[in-house]
Amino acid sequence: MSKRIDVKDLNVYYGNFLAVEGVSINIAPRSVTAFIGPSGCGKSTFLRTLNRMHEVIPNARVEGEVLLDGDNLYAPGVDPVAVRSHVGMVFQRPNPFPTMSIRDNVLAGVKLNGGRLSRSEAQEIVESSLLGANLWNEVKDRLDKPGSGLSGGQQQRLCIARAIAVKPDVILMDEPCSALDPISTLAVEDLINELKEQYTVVIVTHNMQQAARVSDKTAFFNIAGTGKPGKLIEYAETATIFNNPKEKATEDYVSGRFG
């Protein structure tokens, strides 16, 4: 269920503009990997290439390979739709479908991939996914109410439930807590810790304490200047990145001497 990700020499382009250059990284299954770095350094862009979500932007393309347990996501004939049902994503702002109930939100992806479900199967998936997202007790009495009626933190956990309901191999999180208050953030961080029992989790965060709290390994991205491509500067155990980084740039950034 949980798969490893190996990226080899990945370049990301928007049209002719090279946004991210030469990233190679190996991410172990059942781990949490954090991407940190200043705004515009390409970490979110790179994250999106791991489930081909960057292709939503016209003219965005990549060179290089992303291997999911050895299968290249960018091999000819690979459908991005299939990739995304294996690599789930949670976004910066909670985005449950406003026209759907809590139950239908959880089932949205399952219905896409699996087709028809019996009532008991559906109920089982809803319950297990919401339990998995630590949301079950808060919403079990109002599964037919709209998902948009929940608090921001609950909405984000609903989005996580929706992502794990399709049983992906990898879960990508793009600054999942940046729109949440500290208590909701804590709830989501606890959840990330539980998710790594079953999934490969990759998280982009601007919050370095968060990276230190949740991740096993950390990757630091940086950019040489405006208009220059973002690069992976250093990738190591989280403790190493924060206490004993090899690169000067990493040390400056994690100690707050950046910019």
Binding site: M53, R84, F97, P98, T99, S148, R162
Partner: protein, 336 residues
């Protein structure tokens, strides 16, 4: 920052003072002077203008309604034997209402799926350049006067449809709406409905396109990230989000189709109410008024205005119904 706060009259005085204390040390007297400045006047002018515009619409609506009721009243109170060659008002108006509703309904039945399809193509499928060009063409289509559509209807569309009508009456003649003998000129209610459909397509399309484009990227990406294809993404996010807007757009189109006069008057060879759509016959309220108005006087004029009142009330009822349909799903609308 502090300065703009002073100029905004909506900010309460208490907050104003706090802002000043933290930003710049100014005396309350200065605050009071600045509070009645340019910003406050502009705000008052704008709110007055907005109120006036709102009131004006209501006044116009009430004036039309009062005019219609006053002018139509004689047709309701006069002895029914004097109205519409002795038919009486209700027997006279009933076939017209039915004809109007059928023509508008067929027009919407044809126009709605086409419009939604075109709007989706422009908003979510076409390359940007093509989408822009298509958008202009659609807007241009909306600007063509109805008499041109009418002329096109008689001179091109009606003759072109005759073979089709002949075929329909042969193949499906056992269904009452396709019963023969078909019109030899093609000037039938179905032709009129098709012309109406062409006329309302640009209206529905451009409203739908605007609404489809407003679907939050956030929700579209959520669907795609779950492994939705583009069509599944549209079904999960764009269409539900746009639902109230689509209903409004269709209502706008319905208003045009119900009230359209010139095109129907030109295209339809009118007659008494019949079930068949491909024979000459049937009539709509608006075309009936237009055709008979020049020679009407006295009670027959009142009768036509009463017909107009019926159309007015019918349109109003349809719009209220549409509002109700939209509001029923408010909780799930995405507005909260």
């Amino acid at each position: 920052m502090a300065k703009t706060l002073h100029e905004t009259p909506s900010v309460t005085k208490g907050r104003d003072v706090t802002a000043t204390q933290t930003k710049t040390p100014e005396s309350p007297k200065e605050l009071r002077e600045m509070s009645s400045g340019r910003g406050a006047a502009g705000d008052r002018i704008f709110s007055g203008a907005a109120l006036a515009a709102g009131v004006l619409i209501l006044v116009a609506l009430v004036a039309v309604a009062v005019f219609l009721v006053v002018q139509a009243l004689p047709a309701f109170v006069a002895p029914q034997s004097q109205i519409a060659n002795g038919q009486g008002f209700w027997p006279y108006i009933f076939p017209l209402v039915v004809g109007t509703v059928i023509a508008a309904a067929i027009a919407l039945l044809i126009a709605t799926p086409i419009s939604i399809g075109v709007a989706l193509f422009i908003s979510h499928y076409a390359p940007r350049r093509l989408a822009q060009i298509l958008g202009y063409v659609i807007d241009l289509l909306a600007a063509i006067p109805s008499v041109i559509f009418g002329a096109w209807g008689i001179s091109f569309l009606a003759p072109a449809l005759v073979p089709g009508y002949t075929w329909l009456s042969n193949a499906l003649g056992w269904i009452p709406i396709f019963a023969g003998p078909p019109s030899a000129t093609g000037k039938t209610l179905l032709t009129a409905s098709i012309v109406l459909a062409v006329m309302v397509i640009p209206i529905i399309t451009s409203v739908c396109r605007e609404i489809f484009l407003q679907t939050p990227k956030l929700h579209e990406e959520a669907a795609l990230a779950l492994g939705a294809t583009r069509w599944e993404m549209i079904r999960m996010t764009v269409l539900p989000f746009a639902r109230p807007g689509i209903i409004s757009a269709v209502m706008l189109g319905l208003g045009r189709a119900l009230g359209e006069t010139m095109a129907v008057a030109l295209v339809l060879s009118s007659g008494p109410l019949i079930a068949s759509l491909i024979r000459s016959g049937n009539q709509t309220i608006a075309a009936e008024i237009a055709l008979n108005f020049p020679e009407a006087s006295g009670l027959s004029l009142n009768t036509l205005i009463a017909a107009g009142l019926v159309l007015f009330l019918f349109t109003l009822a349809v719009n209220i119904l549409a509002r109700w349909v939209i509001s029923r799903h408010k909780e799930f609308s995405g507005a909260n």
